[in-house]
Structure formats: structure tokens, C-alpha cells
């Protein structure tokens, strides 16, 4: 097993009248277990030069195992490494359209927009990695080159 520690620190002195200082550390473990996750995609760097909605993480047995209902303590970190404050990448789950027209979000469905990452924004989310609906897609707001880095930890 491996020991992977992830820590978030949220701080603000002026968001509210009481300063915010939140710190939380998680050790990434296998589902329902005290054993650490031990598989990783490695830290990937990906470049995008169109506004097409494309898969960043494509699920499937050849890539990241075959998830089941009890095997999904996977974690995904994504960062927009650009510096723009106006251009962004949108990320979401589901099968990408591979075109400039994104798939439509639907309630209790198979496609969902998570949100936007502007320059230097990052996120860390769990990933169930179920086929197609667990694909992680990305869509840049601009055709100017966008660079994203990500790493997936899985079992």
C-alpha cells in the first residue's frame, strides 16, 4: 500500500467578520478500508487548442480498472495551469460530445457540468469512473491554447 496525503487550507481574514482558517487532511484509502490507494495515472499535462468538449479521463477497463459499486474511492485532482482571469475550462462528467456543442445536463441523467476552472484554479473530487457516465470531460472557453494538469488515484 501507499500513503497519499492531501490537505486543503482555506483562509480569509475578511470574507466574514470572523476569520476563516480551515484545514483538512485526508489520507487516500481504498473503499471501506484503511489500506491506501496504490495506483495512479501520474501527473498528466494536457493541452487543448479548440473549444470542443472532449474527454480528459476516459473510463474503461484498459485505463482505470472496472469500477463496481464497492470500488470507487478514486480521487481526481485537476488544475488549469493557465494564467488568464477571463478564459476558463469547464469540467463535467459524462461522455463528451467531441464538438463545440456540449452535451446537455440532465437531472438524474448521464451528463453533468461541475464548473469552471479559471487560470490557476484547481479542484479535487471523488470519481466513480463508471463507464461513460464517469468520464471526465473538459471544454475550454477559448481556442487559444489551454493547459491542464491532472492526476487520478484509483484502485
Amino acid at each position: 500500500m501507499a500513503t497519499i496525503n492531501a490537505t486543503i487550507n482555506l483562509t480569509s481574514s475578511d470574507l466574514t467578520s470572523s476569520p476563516l482558517s480551515l484545514s483538512k487532511t485526508m489520507t487516500m484509502r481504498k473503499a471501506g478500508s484503511c489500506t491506501g490507494l496504490e495506483l495512479s495515472s501520474g501527473l498528466m499535462t494536457r493541452k487543448f487548442t479548440s473549444t470542443n468538449q472532449v474527454n480528459l479521463i476516459s473510463t474503461g477497463a484498459q485505463n482505470y480498472g472496472t469500477p463496481t459499486a464497492t470500488i470507487n474511492a478514486n480521487k481526481l485532482y485537476i488544475k488549469n495551469t493557465g494564467s488568464s482571469t477571463t478564459s476558463y475550462v469547464t469540467i463535467g462528467l459524462g461522455d463528451a460530445s467531441d464538438s463545440g456543442t456540449p452535451t446537455t445536463d440532465n437531472v438524474n441523467g448521464d451528463s453533468m457540468t461541475i464548473g469552471r476552472l479559471y487560470g490557476q484554479d484547481w479542484c479535487v473530487i471523488p470519481g466513480h469512473l463508471a463507464t461513460d457516465v464517469g468520464d471526465v470531460w473538459i471544454q475550454p472557453s477559448s481556442a487559444e491554447e489551454a493547459t491542464v494538469e491532472c492526476i487520478l488515484f484509483f484502485q
Binding site: 483562509t11 480569509s12 480551515l22 478514486n74 453533468m112
Partner: protein, 145 residues
Amino acid sequence: MATTTATFTLTSSDLNSDPLSLSTTKTCYKAGTTIGLDQTTGLNKIYLTATTNVDIITVPGATMAGKNAKVYIANLSTDDTEYIIVTKGGNVIGRLYAGDFLWMPMEQKAAHLSDIEIAPSVATGMWVEYMMIHEGMKLTGSADA
């Protein structure tokens, strides 16, 4: 404006033969600006005693589309087998097991469609905390009006 900073560090000495050490920091800005997000739900702490799927963050409507928001959710359970399923608009994002957290942007396209929900794996009681830091919410009437 407010200045809220989110820092993430990721380390492992034994995942690979090359130690992993990653750190990143970002100030939370309003969409397309360098003006800080200035609204928050505050840090909520809740105790859930049913496996029912419940809304923890609801979106008032399409007026929030394109506004920036960040969401933090943590499962405070200490039982390794316990988890919450996090969904958005009924679509599964994934599970947070005991001690796990997430930090993610939140697109607010429409009510219900973009709501964040959680469902505990057990009904024996589970502590969860969450917070949204955001912009653009203007209350022009009472929710029960």
C-alpha cells in the same frame, strides 16, 4: 471584496519511486475578474440519521448561471466503511469515505439541475461539513413568500 485563499498540497513518499510533492494556491475570484468572492454559506456542520438523499446546496435559478462558486464538503465520520454519495442534479460525482473531502467549482445553471445533494451510506448518524463560497446572490424576497 474579500480575499479567500485555497491551498492544496499532495504528498506521497511511497506511491512511486519518485516522491510526489505538489502544492498549489489560488485566490477565489468572481467569474472573469480579479475581484474576490464575497459571499458564503458559512461552514455548515450537519448530522444525518437517514440514508435519504438530501439537498445541501440549492440553486435559486438561472440568474446564477456563469457566477463563480466553490464548494467544500467533508465527511467527518471516523468509520472507514462509512461514506456519503455526492450528487449534482441527481448525477453521481462520487463517494466521500470517512475523512475524505472535496473542493470543486460549481456551475449554477438552474434550480434542481445544479443542486448539490448527499446521501449517507448508513442511518446510524454521520457528521458532514460543507461550505460554499460564491458571488451574485441577491435576496429580493422571502423564500416562503
